[in-house]
Amino acid sequence: MKLELRGITKRFGSLVANDDISVVVRPGEIHALLGENGAGKSTLMNVLYGLYAPDGGQILIDDAPVSFDGPGDAVAAGIGMVHQHFMLVPVFTVAESVALGYEPTKALGILDLDAARARVREISERFGFHIDPDAVIEDLPVGVQQRVEIIKALSRDAEVLILDEPTAVLTPQETDELIAIMKQLKARGTSIVFITHKLREVRAVADEITVIRRGRVVGQASPESTESELAGLMVGREVRLSTDKGHAEPGPETFAVQNLTVVDKAGSTVVDDISFGVRAGEILCIAGVQGNGQTELAQAIIGLVEPLAGSIVLEGAELTGRTVKQRLDAGIGFVPEDRTEDGLVASFSIRENMILDQYDRPPYASGLALRPTVIRDAAEAKVEEFDIRLTSIDDPISTLSGGNQQKVVLSRELGRPLRLFIASQPTRGLDVGSVEFVHKRVIAERGRGVPCIIVSTELDEVLNLADRIAVMYKGRIVGIVPAGTPRDAVGLMMAGVPESEALARVADGSAATMISEAAEEDLP
């Protein structure tokens, strides 16, 4: 099946999300749509999937124009979609999930689960997925849940499969397995539209690359292009993918965590007897797949959760038992993982968000009274210093893009002398340009002799920033390795493989992934 989008335009009010976009997906092709967050990739796919009606342009299947009034029409036409956030019911079994919405029925409308099971088995065998139709969704790892979504699409005879940011939730090894699946699907004639902003993956798997920027197609690229070429197209200017961070000159260890254990509300141990130290002027990255206790570790350090046991010592002073405010006063700068939920008050103005954790101390307040002029001047200065793009500091922060919102958080947390800097996922959802900026600021903070802890699930970020890498798996630190440790070794450790074994497997070549191979080619 040949799929063509011709001149698709989609407007939301004055915002043009898709401006005359044309893409041709040939049968059996893996077509990557590459673009930054907010470039309009998802809007385009929602148009294709029948969720939005385009304001202009046509969708053609095998050169015949079609129009979709909803996802049902798109599915009937052979288009399947795997959303970034899976659309699965946690308590359903795999067979039930696959049957949902298109339930096979016996006489009298009785659900024919056997038919659904058989279908799951058949597809799963065809592609070697090894999925038990009776497994319950919530018990399955994320990578397997994604396969269930793929099976669901394939069971509706999808000939074009849209994968929307499919690797965001996967470990490097799982990503590799997904890439193998994509290649297998391609070999059997299924076309794949692969939406991503990750350059490595595109180069590892795509046949054709369409780069989208600000709602327009800015170019076609071949998988042979280098990463910096692709990044340049995507951002519209030359970008440096790795930040030159120079040599660390670490001082004494000023921050230490000893035998820290955190138990969540449900009573399960999320941080399990962790110990590590950070030296002044050093960046320690905490790597790991989402949900392995990194979030809780960061929260315990700032005081949002009280640990069950263990100690947290900053410059000789014990932090456990102190309030968040006391810890902030002790000189901790904290960038929370979820900036919209924890870092910002959406309806507050930019100016107010810039003093969110400083509002009650000089120079922003004298006694009970806020000092509007001081606050305003400081905000204007920060806008200048952090290059925040905005109309007015009086606008609600929700009017800013994610990158600029994050800059507001950073300007607040880095805008005072620190003794410890912790950032959780500081670049999540940011475009390449903003990522570069954030990394520079973190490195500058290191240069001031501040111990920095960066929690990140993005392996690229970890390898780029870290002076040392602590890998977390199921609440424990699998190992702390120096910068320069092979990518695949860190990847294996993220899946719980001990440090020595991971290094050995990398050494004998059994752990090489396609993604890192693609990266190797870039090296001189």
């Binding site: 407007r11 939301f12 009010g13 004055s14 915002l15 999300a17 967050n37 907010g38 309009g40 998802s42 809007t43 929602n46 029948g50 969720l51 939005y52 304001d55 009034d69 909803g70 996802p71 049902g72 959303h83 970034q84 956030h85 659309m87 919405g101 509300k265 700032i302 949002l304 009280e306 309030t323 968040v324 405010k325 810890r327 902030l328 904290f334 929370p336 919209t340 939920e341 924890d342 870092g343 910002l344 008050v345 959406a346 309806s347 507050f348 107010e352 969110l356 954790d357 509002y359 009650d360 307040a365 009970l368 009274a369 806020l370 606008d395 609600p396 929700s398 009017t399 800013l400 893009s401």
Partner: protein, 482 residues
């Protein structure tokens, strides 16, 4: 605020630029990523995010509905209905006459009575409206401050009763020099309200008890406590068995601002002062910053080092202080003694006032004036035209209903807006675009709702439960912190 419903009227308002900016911008930011879960507006935000015209539209609609009821309840109008098809003009004539007479009586009773024989009598209604408005403004400010801090303080009534009780008791039970006495009595009223609200605040902060339920229960307790005390002779200090207290000393009475027969007293100045203080507190003080941060996003406030439990208690205590003052001005300014019905329905009307005023101090002030006018005008309307005073209650209730459902008001006024919008062609395109998305997402069923920005009802109800869950989580969180 950033997930305004994509209903027919959402991206529109007749004018105010602020509304459009707030609604349109976040939408623009979100739209390129429609698959993301829409960060919803809480019910409170839904209610407060519109502009001034939603309340005004609600008032107009409510008066219209009230007019229909006035006509329907009138025997003469009913009689003309009997031969409606023979002479419809009779029906419309009589109905118009009845309604306009009732409303003009309402106006004369509330603002200016041009039919009165002396000048003093002509302008007395306005001062009476201000007298009625005083406790409504004070208590409304308390409720509004709670709303802004993320608290549904339904306990205005109980706090008013306690305020009246304390102020009244210290007004007649002890003797103090002039000026000092009424100031002291006012202060005691504030303390009484603060204690009562503080109970709810402490319970919520320490145990996570839902403040809605606690304050409602405290209302009942306050009512019965007052009735009990009014039977105790040590409290009433009267020999009689009447459930009423002694009259307060003259020194405890709030000074009159105009000579009798005007009843306008210094309590109105207290209300003006309180409006300014609450504005300063919310917009210009660190305390207000803290309270608003907790109200808008408790998680972010906690991450920023704010003690959510402290903020909760503080918000309730300040709210109680204001409500207590509302009760105190009633007893010290107009009633001059305690009785079982001292608080009337001030505590409940104040919730309406806070909603109508969109929880903004100035808005509450004007909403209080309006409701004060309704109250004062209702009496004249009943006595002169025989229209039941309950109509006023109905109008007030409809206002609340409409305010709580801004999309409904928007839908009703939609044709009007559309007509105005047709002039600037650019805007019209935007509005239609939005409508398209809304209907489309609705049409595509569950999947559409999940992926796109869903229709109005889904967004609202979904975020409602989210909001409650979050509140609970926060209170347990703070408990763990200790």
């Amino acid at each position: 605020m950033n997930a305004q419903p994509a209903g027919p009227g959402s991206a529109s308002g007749p004018a105010p630029a602020q509304d459009q900016a707030v609604e349109a911008r976040p939408a623009a930011g979100q739209l390129p990523r429609p698959a993301g879960p829409g960060r919803g507006a809480t019910v409170l935000e839904q209610i407060f995010s519109g502009t001034v015209w939603v309340p005004i539209g609600s008032i107009l609609l409510a008066l219209l509905a009230g007019g229909v009821l006035i006509a329907a309840a009138d025997p003469q109008v009913q009689a003309t209905l009997g031969y409606f098809f023979a002479r419809p003009s009779d029906f419309f004539g009589v109905a118009w006459q009845t309604v306009s007479e009732a409303y003009s009586a309402l106006f004369r009773g509330a603002i200016f009575d041009w039919q009165a024989d002396t000048f003093v009598r002509m302008i007395r209604p306005l001062t009476e409206s201000l007298v009625s408005a005083t406790p409504l403004i004070l208590t409304g400010l308390g409720i509004a401050l709670g709303f802004r801090s993320g608290l549904f303080n339904i306990g205005g009534q109980g706090q008013v009763i306690l305020g009246a009780m304390f102020a009244g008791f210290f007004g007649y039970a002890i003797g103090l020099p002039p000026i000092v006495h009424f100031l002291f009595a006012l202060l005691m009223g504030a303390v009484g309200g603060a204690i009562w609200a503080g109970i709810a605040g402490v319970l919520k902060a320490r145990t996570g008890a839902n403040e809605v339920i606690v304050t409602i229960m405290l209302n009942s307790i306050a009512g019965y406590l007052l009735l009990y005390l009014l039977k105790q002779s040590w409290f009433t200090q009267t020999g009689s068995t009447n459930p009423a207290s002694r009259t307060i000393y003259e020194t405890a009475q709030l000074p009159l601002l105009l000579p009798p027969p005007f009843r306008l007293h210094a309590g109105f100045l207290v209300a003006i002062l309180a409006t300014i203080v609450v504005w300063w507190l919310l917009e210009r003080s660190t305390v207000g910053f803290e309270l608003r941060a907790v109200g808008e996003n408790a998680r972010a406030a906690r991450t920023a080092g704010v003690s959510v439990s402290r903020a909760t208690i503080l918000a309730m205590v300040i709210a109680g202080t204001l409500s207590g003052l509302g009760g105190a001005t009633t007893v010290l300014g107009t009633e001059h003694k305690l009785s079982g019905g001292i608080a009337g329905s001030i505590g409940f009307d104040a919730i309406t006032v806070a909603l109508l005023g969109r929880s903004r101090p100035l808005g509450v002030f004007f909403a209080g004036l309006l409701f004060g006018a309704f109250k004062a005008g209702g009496y004249l309307m009943q006595s002169q035209t025989g229209t039941p005073i309950d109509i006023v209650l109905v109008v007030q209730s409809i206002i609340v209903l409409l305010i709580a459902a801004p999309p409904l008001v928007r839908t009703i006024f939609w044709p009007l807006i559309k007509a105005r919008r047709l002039v600037p062609g650019q805007d019209r395109g935007g509005a239609e675009g939005d409508t398209g998305v809304g209907t489309r997402a609705g049409a595509s069923g569950a999947e559409g709702t999940a992926a796109g920005r869903g229709p109005v009802s889904t967004g609202a109800s979904g975020t409602d439960s989210e909001g409650t869950g979050q509140a609970d989580e926060d209170s347990t969180g703070t408990k763990g912190e200790r």
